[in-house]
């Protein structure tokens, strides 16, 4: 399936932690619980912040936590602690057991089916240590901010650059005999600077994160893009209210797929709180749309060898030809809906929109005249109705070319309609955490601005 990854020394030895989990499960059993599951997560790392060429902050992080869920028949209780000592462990399990006496019987509750548990735990090459020394992280941060400040005389101030490097170990065990651990890393570079002209100030931000340091965007390029984003907003104005086509660039389009994934989650489906209610097999989006999961992508931010319940995730389509092909299920929501878990306890895994044929420039050309959004503010999405209304900034586009920057406007519509109005998909995918999306062109949204 992939190259054998180079072995890296683990952040911490997983065996003693799996032993802790074993003790927790044993405490639960002797307390009368019929079943139990427990997780330990340990994270360690360093964050460095610089501003105006000087070190501003250093944070050394080390966090650990254990959480346990116990089942007495179909009643459940849970508890968590940051103290992994034996006594704290016992108290935590006892607290979970005590609480389970008061929760209601739920026939759908409990552990996953034994035959759903992951049989193989593939090494997905998720753990890559980066720079060990704080000085090296500092160097990267300084280089990033310097590139931003060198981008032009319009860059007048800085909110600084930050670099962080973390590694984690996640251990999960349940009373069906499953006990596994995997390590992962996450590194990031971010920068925010301020461009000014007369009494106007505009902020620009850019960032990159990855499990493998070599997949991070170059520090200088992160800084440069942050600066460009600030500079290009100078002179922004508001425009009049209108209905207009809109291009969502790759770094913002992913937010649409996050809303779709939430709407297709088992909990939204059984609670009947989804704008895509009971839509399995139905056409809900433009025929061009294929949205799929890639849980085993090597070294990817959304990859995992097993989900939060020890179930193997799977490569599959959520949407294909615009039709809903599956829900996002954990074992509980699956039982509620009379289905089988899809290994999504903890969410979707590398949700990907299949790229189309158009370059970004071609997408703008296809739009001809309309709005290119570059920043969105506020949540403004109603998960029950799909009503969408957010603050926006970006560019007005004429004849497929950027005409001038726009700010202080709103974008509104309804996701049910918007999904069907995606008329073109770009060939420019980028990674944003758990999402991979190219740019998309939406046929029509309401842009709110000044009157007239």
């Amino acid at each position: 399936m992939m190259d054998v990854p180079e072995a890296v020394p683990a952040l911490v030895d997983s065996q003693p932690l799996l032993g802790r989990l074993e003790s927790a499960l044993e405490f639960a059993r002797t307390s009368g619980a019929d079943a139990a599951q427990a997780t330990i997560a340990v994270t360690q790392g360093t964050s460095v912040g610089v501003r105006l060429g000087e070190l501003e902050s250093v944070e050394y992080d080390r966090a650990q936590s254990l959480s346990v869920t116990v089942y007495f028949g179909h009643r459940e209780g849970s508890a968590s602690t940051s103290d992994l000592g034996r006594e704290a462990l016992r108290e935590t399990v006892e607290a979970a057991c005590a609480i389970a006496r008061y929760t209601a019987e739920d026939p759908h509750g409990g552990l996953p089916r034994r035959d759903d548990l992951a049989e193989n735990v593939p090494d997905l090459d998720l753990d890559h240590p980066w720079l060990e020394s704080t000085d090296k992280l500092l160097e990267v941060a300084l280089c990033c901010e310097q590139a931003a400040r060198d981008a032009g005389p319009m860059i007048r101030n800085s909110d600084g650059a930050s670099v962080n490097s973390h590694r984690s170990l996640r251990c999960y065990a349940n009373s069906l005999g499953f006990a596994q651990a995997y390590g992962s890393s996450r590194h990031g570079i971010g920068c925010a600077v301020i461009a000014g002209a007369s009494d106007e100030m505009q902020r620009g931000h850019w960032g990159s994160s990855a499990r493998r340091p070599s997949e991070l965007e170059d520090a200088g390029s992160v800084g440069h893009r942050a600066a460009q984003r600030a500079i290009e907003q100078l002179g922004a104005r508001t425009i009049s209210t209108r209905t207009t086509p809109v291009v969502f660039p790759a770094d913002l389009a992913y937010s649409l797929w996050a809303s779709v994934a939430a709407a297709l989650s088992g909990s939204a489906q059984y609670r009947k709180t989804s704008f895509l209610q009971d839509c399995l097999g139905q056409s809900v989006a433009s025929r061009q749309l294929r949205l799929y999961e890639q849980p085993f992508l090597p070294a990817a931010l959304g990859s995992a060898p097993f989900d939060d319940e020890g179930v193997s995730p799977r490569e599959r389509d959520l949407l294909a030809d615009g039709e809903v092909r599956g829900y996002v299920l954990n074992s509980y929501s699956a039982r509620r809906l009379g289905m089988r878990t899809t290994g999504n306890a903890g969410g979707v895994r590398n949700l990907t929109l299949e790229p189309g044929a158009d370059s970004f420039a071609e997408l703008l050309g296809r739009m001809d005249t309309g709005f290119l959004v570059t920043g969105l503010m506020g949540r403004g999405v109603n998960p029950l109705t799909g009503d969408y209304s957010r603050g926006a900034r970006g560019f007005w586009v004429e004849g497929g070319e950027i005409a001038f920057p726009v700010h202080e406007v709103t974008l509104a519509g309804n996701l049910r309609i918007l999904l069907k109005q995606i008329v073109a998909i770009g060939n420019d995918p980028i990674v944003r955490g758990n999402y991979r999306s190219p740019s998309v062109l939406v046929e029509a949204m309401t842009l709110g601005g000044k009157s007239g």
Binding site: G77, A79, R203, R379
Partner: protein, 475 residues
């Protein structure tokens, strides 16, 4: 008090002092040792059953050194002397020579006593909590037959902190916090809508039981959901907006609150930087931040640097008067500390944050304010908001709003984002109501990845122009 807090650990207060000594090397301007133990619980109901509940414990020590504009933090959840000294050695190296300025520490400020220190999780028995949730579910369903789903969550935390400051002053605070939220889904003719309501504060669960406050939340959630069933498309464009009292104060929090935090102003990245003494709002506006209100969600006896909280006037009759400060930014700006140094936990660096931020009452009645609107919006309930402090642009999401024409409320409109500019919006406040109210205690503020509980408030206001992000054009 301090002895109690450390009693369950291998630490004694001398260990905290030893750690402070080790990390405060030459060049260190400030620093602190922050010990925290937070116990919490949550209970949730759906489908008329209490299906899940849990308890949590989180504890640890954060060690911070400040030198000039630099800060170093190391934290540990191993509560033993060795781990503390290790962490102290880790941050020590980040001090450097050369101090800049001195914070004005007002030692005459008295210590507050704003809430009772008892653990709120014990204020009702488990049976009583379950019964409370069931009674609220029943109340919501009884309120209207169109109610389909009811989701309720009840939570409490008991946060004990012990702060050893650079001048070796040991402060403690024990902070209870409770919260209750009710969300309902209603259905009529195949159309589904939701509404929510809730509240909380630095109290025990008695807050919800006394005077049937909790049942009021249940009925209010149903009412809001039913209003949304009738809601028509919101307009798009710039309109005068009347904002109701209480929670709509999230406008102030976003429009001016963040922009008046000391760090942004020291760095010159806020639209309000360097503008003390200037007119930044209409003369009708006086805005304060007050962390010393009894039992409020945003209140603290002392901030997370050990400074007693108090009332800070931010804007007085439209004139910018002051910023909210922590020790570091006060020192660097030669300003007074204001008791606004807050951190999410021992694992986070403190920074200037709001507590309870509100606008003082004026002279108009709510009716007069609504009657003044020719064509516009009357918005009474909001979701969250967000601000870009540099450009001053902010948004907040209306959850319950009405279209007003000729001074009369016409019909409810769908939730819509409102967008404005902090430097301009408060200049456009043309009427201030006499009905100042604080919110019910549900606010959580996020800044640089850290969340802290806050309060907001205001009387009914008229803003002459905000951009409303609806879908209806040509209104």
């Amino acid at each position: 008090m301090s002895a109690d807090l450390l009693a369950d650990t291998e630490l004694i207060s001398a260990d905290l002092e030893a750690a402070l000594d080790r990390m405060m090397g030459p060049g260190a301007d400030d620093g602190d040792v922050y010990f925290q133990r937070r116990r919490s619980e949550h209970w949730s109901l759906e489908e008329a059953e209490v299906k899940s509940a849990g308890r949590g414990l989180r504890q640890g020590v954060g060690l911070r050194v400040v030198s000039g504009e630099r800060m170093g933090l190391a934290h540990t959840d191993r509560l033993e002397p060795g781990a503390l000294l290790e962490a102290a050695a880790c941050v020590r190296s980040f001090a450097r020579q050369g101090t800049t300025g001195r914070a004005v520490l007002d030692l005459s400020r008295s210590v507050n006593d704003l809430y009772r220190p008892a653990d709120p999780t014990g204020s009702l028995s488990a049976d009583e909590k379950v019964e409370l949730l069931h009674s609220l579910d029943a109340e919501a369903r009884r309120a209207d037959p169109r109610v389909r789903e009811v989701f309720i969550s009840l939570s409490a935390s008991h946060d004990q902190v012990l702060i050893l400051s650079a001048e070796r002053r040991l402060s403690t605070d024990v902070r209870p916090l409770v919260r209750l939220d009710v969300r309902v889904v209603v259905e009529q003719g195949g159309k589904r809508e939701q509404g929510s309501a809730g509240g909380g504060g630095r109290r025990d669960y008695g807050l919800f039981v006394e005077t049937d406050r909790a049942k009021g939340y249940a009925r209010e959630a149903v009412r809001r959901a039913l209003v949304n069933l009738e809601a028509r498309e919101a307009p798009a464009g710039v309109f005068p907006v009347a904002l109701g009292p209480g929670w709509p104060g999230v406008l102030l929090h976003e429009a001016v609150g963040h922009g008046l935090e000391g760090d942004f102003n020291r760095k010159g990245t806020s639209v309000f930087s360097g503008r003390i003494g200037e007119q930044v709002a209409s003369e009708l506006c006086t805005v304060v931040d007050d962390g010393s209100l009894a039992e409020r969600r945003g209140s603290l006896n002392l901030d997370d640097e050990g400074t007693p909280t108090g009332r800070t006037v931010l804007i007085e009759n439209g004139i910018l008067r002051g910023y909210m400060q922590d020790r570091t930014n006060a020192r660097l700006m030669a300003a007074h500390v204001t008791g606004n140094g807050r951190r999410e936990s021992y694992a986070h660096l403190p920074m200037p944050r709001m507590t309870n931020t509100f606008l003082l009452a004026g002279g108009h009645s709510r009716e007069e304010i609504i009657a003044s609107i020719d064509k516009g919006l009357y918005a009474v309930h909001f979701g969250g908001g967000q601000v870009d402090i540099t450009s001053g642009r902010f948004v907040f999401n209306a959850a319950e709003a009405y279209w007003v024409e000729n001074g009369r409320i016409q019909y409810p409109v769908k939730g819509a984002t409102l967008i404005g500019n902090g430097a301009q919006t408060l200049r456009m406040v043309s009427m201030v109501g006499d009905d100042l109210a604080l919110d019910d205690g549900v606010g959580t503020c996020g800044k640089q990845g850290q969340s802290v509980p806050v309060g907001v408030g205001q009387p009914t206001l008229r803003v002459d122009g905000l951009t409303v992000g609806g879908t209806r054009t040509g209104a």
